[in-house]
């Protein structure tokens, strides 16, 4: 009896793991890793005339990446994504902080309100911005009535940032909220008991402890902002393109899959670096606290 016990338990455990992890893991392998491997393999081949690749090895897809034309697009996108992330943090932190302090019943209502926009189709919400901002739109009609307009609002970098911020602000608020909400109130009380003013308590206790949430929120906002191509097209009027548009165009318009793959790979590389930085910073913040 006792001799057969441990192996059976081990097999059961393994079977249990297979059942619980297997489907998700299998799904990711087939639909994430395989396409990723394809993208990776495309980078070293020549483009086919109508999409696809010709299996002749070449390095020119990578050298093209160094062209200032494309580097400008990449830097421009990073700039807009950074601005969006910082604004989201500035707006999101106080919001998350206040929600965390609300009574339980109101917390739920506030959190539902934060995710409410996700219930409506993303494109429709973006089109609403066009209606709002265009030169014959609601905002400009108001400004004109006041004798101040029309002001060029739509098809500017500002409109792109506004659209990105609007789309991804909830992704900043939610991790911030969960980080702030989790903080042990006794730490803040201790800080107050030891004579710290509220501002000091915030800077020395609350903020450092919520830093992992800050970093998660920043990554959540930065990543989709960098890759977005719908908002620059609709709110930027196609006059400013971001790296997401460039990648989309390589696949759909230019039919240059290899170069599109190189661009995609470059973005993935930036994001992986960012995730490592985030993990490192979060661990450091955890250790210091």
């Amino acid at each position: 009896m006792t001799g057969t016990g441990p192996p059976v338990a081990a097999v059961r455990k393994a079977a249990g793991r297979l059942v619980t992890l297997g489907p998700g893991f299998g799904f990711l392998t087939v639909f994430l890793l395989v396409p990723l491997a394809l993208v990776l393999s495309y980078t070293v081949f020549r483009r086919g005339r109508f999409g696809g690749v010709v299996h002749e090895p070449t390095g020119e897809n990578f050298t093209r990446l160094a062209d200032p034309l494309y580097l400008d697009v990449v830097f421009g996108s990073v700039k807009l994504a950074v601005i969006t992330t910082l604004l989201a943090l500035l707006l999101g932190y106080p919001t998350a902080y206040m929600i965390a302090k609300l009574p339980a019943k109101w917390k739920v209502i506030a959190l539902v309100a934060v995710v409410l926009p996700f219930w409506t189709n993303f494109l429709i919400r973006t089109y609403a911005w066009i209606v709002l901002l265009n030169s014959e739109g609601m905002l400009n009609s108001g400004l004109k009535a006041l004798g101040l307009g029309p002001v060029e609002l739509l098809y500017t970098d500002g409109a792109i940032v506004a659209g990105l911020l609007y789309a991804y602000l909830p992704l900043m608020i939610l991790p911030l909220y969960s980080a702030i909400e989790r903080l042990d109130p006794s730490l803040r009380e201790a800080s107050a008991n030891l004579g710290a003013r509220p501002a000091r308590t915030f800077w020395s206790v609350t903020l450092p402890l919520s830093l992992p949430g800050v970093l998660t929120g920043c990554v959540f906002v930065f990543v989709p902002s960098l890759g977005n191509f719908v908002i620059p097209e609709l709110l930027g009027g196609g006059r400013r393109i971001m790296v997401g548009n460039l990648i989309r165009d390589q696949f759909l318009k230019a039919r240059d899959w290899p170069f599109g793959s190189v661009l995609a790979l470059a973005v993935i590389a930036v994001l992986v670096l960012l995730l490592f930085a985030q993990a490192w910073a979060a661990r450091r913040a955890g250790r210091d606290a």
């Binding site: 109508f50 696809g52 009027g237 006059r239 039919r255």
Partner: protein, 363 residues
């Protein structure tokens, strides 16, 4: 060329089909021997077409008239269908709707079945000009489904002087700054500049394309947006006052909205029907094309999509009121033929891709 589906919707919903691509298989170019009396009910057809580009009940109508089942696949751009058709092997598609220059490219790769004119008696309904299109003179491998040109769509109440030249688009007067849209699809992005330079829309001269690029970069800050799909709405709202537009897309039924082909000339584009060599239902495919050329079906396109069709019988049967509301529809074929036919440029087409990327990426 994109069709009626807004480009953003199409791209947002898009899933990349990362099929491994082999080279085009070299097939025997000899036409198949077709049986004019084949039992069509034993065949079935898969066609690929732009969304909303044919009557919704077309499969039912084909079934009733010809007795075989038709499956309709949708493609959103020429590029998507080309990727499918050139991926190697049997795409499963019998009849594809593609623009003329793409039909030419497919034929050059040996992927198309030469048409058996005797199986398409309705070809007699077409204007004689329909057989004079540069990408396929004599309709040997393609039949035009729609045709048209590119020009300026504008608000007569918002422009001081009606535009007559591509220069009015590329060197806009002060009052039109930020009130103009241009197309972004590569060949049409370059077209206004090429025509203004007196060059061919099919030029592969890098020096000419460089000059065109300078002109396009110069006008970029003055544009409201690049827009292939929604410029009609922008003109209606007054957000835009002038747009580079395909004739069928200019909402001339609206008060104050007019369409003009600039004096330097323009292009002549055509969307065509082709039969794939890989099709195992070639008799049905010919019968299908013949049925499309029936004035009733072909006329549907002019009435509902507002594109010109190369079908004389169907055009003659149109309600004169429709032609009055949409004067561009009434443009006679001889006039249309003055436009330069867009042809496939082979490997040189990358020059246009590069130009369009450079213009759109410039800040």
């Amino acid at each position: 060329m994109t069709r009626r589906a807004p480009v953003a919707v199409a791209s947002a919903c898009l899933a990349f089909t990362l099929t491994a691509c082999g080279g085009a298989s070299t097939t025997d170019s000899a036409p198949a021997t077709l049986d004019a009396n084949a039992d069509l009910s034993k065949q079935s057809l898969t066609i690929s077409i732009w969304d909303g580009y044919s009557p919704k009940d077309l499969p039912e109508r084909v079934k009733a008239k010809l007795g075989f089942d038709t499956k309709v696949a949708i493609h959103d751009t020429n590029e998507t269908i080309m990727a499918k058709l050139t991926a190697g092997g049997d795409s499963g598609i019998d009849v594809a709707f593609v623009s003329g220059q793409y039909a030419q490219a497919l034929n050059a790769q040996g992927l198309l079945e030469p048409l058996h004119a005797d199986l398409i008696p309705n070809l007699k309904n077409l204007f004689p000009e329909a057989a004079q299109l540069a990408y396929d003179k004599g309709n040997t491998f393609s039949v035009p489904y729609t045709w048209g040109t590119t020009g300026l769509c504008y608000r007569s109440d918002l422009v001081k002087t009606p535009p007559t030249s591509w220069s009015d688009l590329l060197n806009p007067p002060a009052e039109l700054k930020k009130k103009i849209t241009m197309m972004t699809t590569e060949r049409w992005l370059a077209l206004p500049a090429l025509k203004l330079l007196g060059a061919s829309v099919n030029t592969t001269d890098q020096a000419v394309l460089d000059k065109a690029k300078q002109m396009l970069l110069k006008v970029k800050p003055d544009l409201l947006a690049y827009d292939d799909t929604t410029f009609g709405d922008r003109l209606k709202s007054g957000e835009a006052a002038m747009a580079e537009a395909w004739d069928g897309w200019c909402p001339t039924a609206e008060k104050n909205i007019k369409f003009v082909v600039p004096s330097e000339g323009s292009d002549l584009w055509a969307d065509t029907m082709v039969i794939l060599k890989s099709s195992r239902n070639k008799e049905a495919a010919h019968a299908f094309i013949n049925y499309i050329l029936d004035p009733e079906i072909h006329g549907w396109v002019a009435q509902n999509i507002l594109y010109k069709i190369p079908n004389k019988v169907a055009m003659d049967a149109l309600d004169p009121k429709l032609l009055e509301s949409y004067p561009a529809l009434a443009q006679p074929p001889a006039e249309l033929l003055k436009g330069e036919s867009l042809i496939d440029l082979g490997e040189a087409s990358t020059m246009y891709t590069r130009l369009s990327t450079e213009v759109s990426a410039a800040q």
